[in-house]
């Protein structure tokens, strides 16, 4: 993201309420994470101390400071999904992608596969609890997820069984 693109975002927020989080959310959405240089730029443009921006980015789970892979998989760990077996779905996902998912209690959890194809994160509920367990890939929701139907979902995004 260059200085120009950031100005365009900032221009959309002409009132103080919701401004900082709104700007950061748009950066997060466009880049998939909050790059350090963008944070520095933002601090200069707004005259807000870098430490303050940094504390926001680390406090709110929506933001990430790490670059993410090509596809973003978010597994819901909300209550409805939990009682319907979300943990099994997550650990099966970890196995398929060859990543460690043991620390997924933390809202800031995020792991990226070595080939940089997938990043796995968790959510606290998409509000689609009726079709629990739920996961989202690149913003599209998939309901009634099971360890068995995961491979078919992953295959839509170029994953193949033998690769891992």
């Amino acid at each position: 993201m260059d200085s120009h693109a950031l100005d365009a975002i900032i221009a959309r927020y002409d009132v103080p309420d919701g401004r900082l989080l709104g700007i950061l959310s748009e950066v997060q959405e466009q880049e998939g994470y909050i790059p350090h240089d963008v944070l520095v730029m933002l601090s200069e443009k707004l005259g807000v101390r870098l430490s303050r921006l940094y504390s926001l980015v680390t406090f709110y789970s929506f933001f990430s400071l790490q670059p993410v892979g090509e596809h973003m998989i978010t597994v819901c760990m909300g209550t409805a999904c939990h009682v319907k077996g979300a943990e099994m779905v997550l650990s099966a996902l970890g196995k398929h992608l060859g990543i460690e998912t043991g620390m997924a209690q933390d809202g800031k959890f995020a792991v990226t596969t070595e080939d940089n194809k997938f990043t796995v994160t968790i959510a606290r509920c998409f509000g689609a609890c009726s079709m629990a367990p739920v996961l989202s890939v690149d913003g599209n929701l998939y309901g009634y997820a099971t360890p068995e139907n995961l491979p078919a979902i992953l295959a839509e995004f170029g994953w193949r069984e033998h690769e891992s």
Partner: protein, 564 residues
């Protein structure tokens, strides 16, 4: 066009009705987040193709969700003069057959869930669809709907939420007109007080009283009115559906509140996990401005009020009032001790007195103004008036959104509407109120769902999540789950919550690993009671509830895992 006379509103209603009940067939696909995700979007696309291919004179629109999530995707068909028919579990493959049937003046009856000859939109308009399709069950005879009473979800699943015209059609903004042109602010507050409406965000604080306190607080019109759309309880999604299916009812409620409290700045604080709700609210606000219903000189009254949207960024604690304000101001969402409350001078947003109410609280307001406080107070139980939308999820057969009068027994919700356990399993408990709530065992299911009864049982109403647990659910695991959640979401400011929850989690993990003794159960109890008594904000004060209730009602499950 700006709404400046009552005749304008009537004209818009008439125009809207032509869309809602056209003189040609209308097919409406339920496209809230859940309907779209289970295939509704594809159904919509196939229907559009089929209609184009046949060159058929059929209106195709989207609606929100009527709440019967298990049967989604849902499709409504309206043939001129006939009952509206709701089709269930519609797939792409059904599209051609639906269009063909409609062209022949029929509906695919094998797909029919129910028929609706007339629908009461509550705010003063009853839609008469017509007769016919007698072989299809009536809406009120469908077991899932039978115990329900729709006041809040009055339009959900019937109107297109992206078209203000359809909201006008069902009597939308008539309550705001009545309030702004025909009532004194004081009279509105008195009505809300007399209705007995209590906050639907969890604590049940009397709404009218909160409005009065805000109105009387210093600061003139520069005070704030905020809608709490953070819906942080993981497992609750009624606020999402209310905003996605009927965004204008929320806006109308906020306008009435703004007039009653005499203020001009409104904000909706909404969680970023709800992109469709954000989009639809944004669109609805834009439409309302176009019609002169938001902005300057609202409905020709000289009154100004506007609403902006502020997005959350994934922090459960930001649903708490003081943290929410901090978040809107662009700070980390850490609560501070109250007082000062938001309504106090200097206590609210940017140091101005602020009224904060939940989405559903606002949605009740137009219905109260339209029908009067007496009507509203007649619904539900004494001290617990009105209806509440519950999201009935987990291991229950019929998942979905269930709106019932307050005071309805849990049993009615779980067994009559929900049909008991999924896959024939036995229901063991429900968890209400999310991470701040507790588990209620089957033997207490005759308990009425109201604020006081739930509190007495060690749980809370919360925002209305009801997660059903069955015989396979490990209640200690549930306690561990919620403790893990609260530990992760604790803002870290006060010691009891930050450290106490961590120790609670360690203790439960030891129990789960078979390494604990009976003495540890006593310690667990004590730690939890201390956290509840000494935490700074509601998060810590209520976070031990899942542990304390499972310890009380399912002690045997803990004891089976510990050494004597």
């Amino acid at each position: 066009m700006r709404v400046e006379a009552e005749a304008d509103l009537k004209a818009l209603q008439a125009t809207g009705l032509k869309k809602l009940k056209p003189d040609k067939p209308r097919i409406a696909v339920g496209l809230a987040t859940c309907g779209a995700a289970v295939g509704g979007r594809k159904v919509y696309d196939r229907l559009r193709e089929a209609i184009a291919r046949e060159g058929a004179e059929i209106d195709l629109v989207q609606t929100g969700c009527i709440g019967y999530c298990r049967e989604e995707p849902l499709v409504n068909i309206t043939l001129p003069g006939k009952s509206l028919v709701i089709l269930r579990k519609v797939t792409e493959a059904d599209a051609d057959a639906i269009v063909r049937a409609v062209l022949n003046g029929k509906v695919p009856e094998d797909k029919a869930l129910c028929r609706v000859p007339a629908w009461d939109h509550v705010t003063g308009f009853v839609m008469e669809y017509g007769k016919g399709f007698d072989a299809i069950p009536l809406y009120q005879d469908v077991p899932f709907f039978a115990p329900q009473r729709k006041v809040i979800l009055r339009n959900a699943g019937f109107i297109d939420p992206e078209d203000i015209g359809e909201y006008f059609a069902v009597g939308g903004y008539a309550a705001a007109w009545k309030a702004l042109h025909g009532m004194e602010p004081e009279a509105i507050i008195a009505e809300v007080e007399k209705s007995g409406l209590r906050g639907r965000g969890g604590a049940g604080f009397p709404t009218g009283l909160k409005w009065r306190i805000t109105r009387d607080a210093p600061g003139g019109a520069e005070k704030y009115l905020v809608c709490n759309a953070d819906e942080g309880d993981p497992g609750a999604y009624m606020n999402r559906n209310e905003m996605e299916s009927d965004p204008h009812m929320l806006i109308e409620g906020m306008i009435i509140g703004a007039f009653a409290m005499g203020l001009r700045h409104g904000l909706i604080y909404i969680r970023s996990e709800y992109p469709l709700a954000i989009e639809r609210l944004g669109r609805a606000i834009g439409q309302a401005r176009e019609y002169g219903i938001l902005g300057e000189n609202i409905m020709g009254t000289g009154l100004s009020f506007d609403i902006r949207i502020a997005r959350g960024a994934g922090a459960f604690v930001c649903g708490e009032s003081t943290a929410l304000v901090a978040s809107i101001e662009g700070r980390t969402g850490r609560p501070h001790p109250r007082p000062p409350r938001l309504t106090d001078p200097e206590g609210g947003l940017f140091g101005k007195p602020t009224d904060l109410n939940n989405v559903e609280t606002w949605c009740n307001v137009p219905a109260i103004v339209a029908n009067g406080s007496g009507w509203y107070a007649g619904i539900g139980a004494k001290g617990n008036t009105g209806t509440k939308v519950f999201s009935l999820v987990g291991k229950v057969d019929r998942v979905g959104l269930v709106e019932v009068s307050l005071g309805t027994p849990i049993r009615t919700i779980v067994f009559d509407a929900g049909n008991g356990g999924a896959n024939g399993k036995k229901v063991k408990a429900v968890q209400t109120g999310g991470p701040s709530g507790g588990c209620i065992p089957l033997r207490l299911f005759d308990m009425p769902v109201d604020y006081e009864s739930l509190n007495k049982a060690g749980s809370i109403m919360g925002s209305g999540g009801i997660v059903v647990m069955d015989e396979d659910t490990d209640m200690v695991d549930i306690a561990r789950y919620f403790t893990g959640f609260a530990t992760g979401e604790s803002c870290g400011k006060c010691v009891p919550c930050r450290e106490g929850l961590k120790h609670t989690l360690l203790l439960i993990n030891r129990i789960q690993a078979g390494k604990a003794s009976k003495k540890d159960l006593a310690t667990l109890q004590e730690v939890c009671e201390t956290i509840a008594a000494t935490s700074l904000c509601g998060l810590g004060q209520t976070a031990p509830n899942p542990v304390l209730t499972t310890l009380a009602y399912f002690r045997e499950e803990y004891e089976a895992k510990v050494r004597p």
